[in-house]
Subunit: 221 residues, 2 copies
């Protein structure tokens, strides 16, 4: 049974990679930048997306694909309220988005008129790492309240990312968080990741993240 | 392929339930109370366990089984430092503990001389909910910094628990957390869960949790 299970998991992953390649081709054909945002539950993925919308929506056309394990529209409602299209994907309890789910979200979007698609993955620091969605960049949102040992305990998710937003820095005075220990843990896994300490609550530190993101948008169009 | 996948997942879950029933029988034969602690990464599972050890280790003999996705002993080292046996289970990247992994940890313990076994699951608010470990009680550690909407967005994990420790209440003055909204979300899913707001940092609110736990230990021996 174990071997059979492994074989089928491999088949599923291969099929996912094919869908992911197709997704990226569609994004490229439309000169759209696509990013996949991953995090633990409650790190601030949605808050970062809302902050990003506030700062770039007057300059770029964007849309959001929201992954949720339950049929709730809490996050997509917040995005819609800002006048930005949001497609909600309910995974039906599954712990991650896969490329086919993203495809189903993409067909709901007006791809002809977009510069950026942000995909908010399901809140999970483990499983999403194994599923390529066909995005150009993978981003993790961490938060200082989760502790500085996360790169050491959940290494896989940090290996495939290009940027990390370290959120809730406004709470640094009240928690034990060793910035050097955290950053060293990230760099040991992946030396090519840009780290952006920021606070979605106060707005401090958001600007460098915005510059990184808009730089990537500009380089594609 | 989808049907084949479903069949195999069912087989795995059934096998897990059999191992779980065996685990509980072994715990019962030794009059040991076993609890399974689940949470998002960084909610404070280990902190709650360390606080619990400090308050009950003079009265009860306990051991900890630590689930980790990576071969790191950060948590089990902290438990060992307090003179409490800790067995580390490395899931090899897997996103949850299953009953067979727990069995492998149990054989490392001196079950003849224990009152309580605490299992610290992998940090994940989704996948562990599907795997019965054979414990008498399931507990979630939530934290106020994760936000008050988690019961609405990750419902499954709250359905099978008997207690919830709501940690980091010392940070309530600095975050937007609606206690009533959170508790209503829990109660709508599961009306039989005891909720313990507490701070592992200050110790405030820990005592009711300790009374709940020691009450359960007493009722088994």
């Amino acid at each position: 049974m174990q071997k059979e299970k492994v074989t089928i998991v491999e088949k599923i992953l291969n099929a996912n990679d094919q869908f992911a390649a197709d997704n990226m081709q569609v994004f490229d054909d439309h000169k759209i930048l696509a990013i996949n945002i991953m995090a633990s539950p409650g790190s601030g993925k949605t808050s970062l997306i809302l902050n990003t919308i506030d700062r770039i929506a007057n300059q770029y056309k964007l849309a959001v694909i929201e992954g949720d394990t339950a049929p709730v529209t809490i996050d997509s409602d917040k995005v819609n309220k800002k006048g930005i299209p949001a497609v909600q994907i309910n995974t039906g309890g599954d712990c991650h988005l896969d490329a086919l789910m993203v495809r189903k979200g993409m067909v709901e979007l007006d791809l002809e008129n977009l510069d950026l698609v942000i995909i908010e993955n399901v809140g999970n620091l483990i499983c999403p790492a194994a599923f390529n969605l066909g995005t150009h960049f993978n981003v993790v949102v961490a938060s200082v309240t989760e502790g500085d040992d996360k790169p050491y305990k959940y290494p896989n998710i940090y290996r495939g990312i290009q940027a990390l937003a370290l959120n809730k820095t406004d709470l640094l005075p009240y928690v034990d968080f060793d910035m050097e220990y955290f950053c060293n843990g990230i760099k040991a896994l992946n030396n090519d990741v840009d780290i952006f300490p920021l606070s979605c609550k106060t707005g401090e530190g958001i600007q460098p993240w915005i510059e990184w993101l808009t730089g990537k948008i500009e380089s594609r169009s």
